[in-house]
Each structure stands twice: as structure tokens, then as C-alpha cells.
């Protein structure tokens, strides 16, 4: 059984979703890569920001 940490699960989810978003939402390979990286950054970045916000609110 595979039991990843919350962050590992998030990174894996973001990676696969970003690959598909990049391929399907843009037309040229260069733009696909850029959009994929952009989506991945937003997935991971927003999760980190929201995590810190929830941590600070809970204190």
C-alpha cells in the first residue's frame, strides 16, 4: 500500500494534472511546457499559501 504524505500527494496530483492541462490547453510545445509549469506552480504555491494561512488562523 502506498501511503504518501499530504505534500507528496499534492505534488503528484499537481504534476499529472499540469501535464494534461499543458497538453490540452495550448497548441505549441513551448507554450504547453510554459502553461504546464505555470499550472504546477499555482497548484503547489496556492496550497502552501493556504496551509500557512490556516496555520496562522488556528493559532
Amino acid at each position: 500500500m502506498f501511503r504518501p504524505s499530504h505534500f507528496t500527494a499534492l505534488v503528484l496530483f499537481a504534476l499529472f494534472a499540469s501535464v494534461i492541462f499543458g497538453i490540452t490547453m495550448r497548441e505549441t510545445p513551448r507554450r504547453m511546457v510554459r502553461y504546464g509549469v505555470y499550472c504546477f506552480s499555482l497548484f503547489v504555491g496556492s496550497a502552501i499559501v493556504l496551509s500557512w494561512l490556516m496555520y496562522l488562523i488556528a493559532r
Binding site: 502506498f2 496530483f13 499529472f16 494534472a17 501535464v19 494534461i20
Partner: protein
């Protein structure tokens, strides 16, 4: 209107919905039919890995629709095409979600299905020339 690239490759003959249906049944197959080898390989790898990781996390494959949420989950799972039917036939996936990672696994399986539908529609758009 078919794209110039598809005309040159000679892939704009035959049933227009074939890439859509093939892409739904087998992740990446729609792109492979259109000779988009790189895109097809990445789509296939991503969807199969996501589905496999979902199962490895003891995620649940929805079988029936007892309430609205389960029905939505089933619709998402159905997007996996043959992976879903194979998983059901082989009895893969947990019957009940008991640990946190299993809940993640269930979401991985549902999202893999939804992403596969997006990819199949992308293959259809490539076939019709709506996208290059």
C-alpha cells in the same frame, strides 16, 4: 475543416469520432491515432499513473449511485474507460475508505477519469482541425 497537418499525415479519413472514443477507452490512444506520439505518451503515462497511484493508496472505485455524490464519483470514474471496467472486473480498489490516503486515492481515480475525458476531447479537436 481539417488542419493542414492532419491532411498531410492522412489521418482525416474515416470515422470522425474515432479519436474521441479511442481516447476515452484507452488513455492517449486518441492522440496516437493522430500520430501525436509525444502528447499521447504523456497523456497515457499521466492518466495510468494517476489511476494506478489511486489504487495503490487503497482508493475506492465507485460501483453504484446510491446518492448524488456517489453518482458524481461514478461519472468521474467512468471517464477512465477500460481502466475502470478492468478495475471493476478484477475487484481492484477498496470497498470502504478507511484511511486518509484512501480518500486521496479515491480522488486520484476520479480526477484521472476527468482528465482522460479532457484529453479525449482534445484528440477530437485535433481530428476536426479545431486545434493544431
Amino acid at each position: 475543416m481539417a488542419s493542414v497537418e492532419n491532411k498531410v499525415a492522412g489521418v482525416d479519413k474515416g470515422f470522425v469520432y474515432l479519436p474521441l472514443i479511442a481516447g476515452w477507452l484507452v488513455p492517449g490512444a486518441g492522440h496516437f491515432l493522430l500520430r501525436k506520439w509525444g502528447r499521447g505518451a504523456l497523456v497515457s503515462l499521466s492518466i495510468v499513473c494517476m489511476f494506478g497511484l489511486g489504487l495503490a493508496m487503497q482508493g475506492k472505485i465507485y460501483s453504484g449511485a446510491h446518492d448524488v455524490l456517489e453518482m458524481l464519483g461514478l461519472v468521474g470514474d467512468l471517464g477512465n474507460g477500460l481502466l475502470f471496467f478492468l478495475g471493476r472486473a478484477m475487484g481492484l480498489g477498496a470497498d470502504q475508505v478507511q484511511v486518509t490516503t484512501a480518500d486521496y486515492g479515491t480522488r486520484f481515480i476520479v480526477v484521472a477519469g476527468l482528465l482522460n475525458v479532457i484529453s479525449a476531447v482534445d484528440a477530437h479537436n485535433l481530428r476536426t482541425g479545431r486545434k493544431l
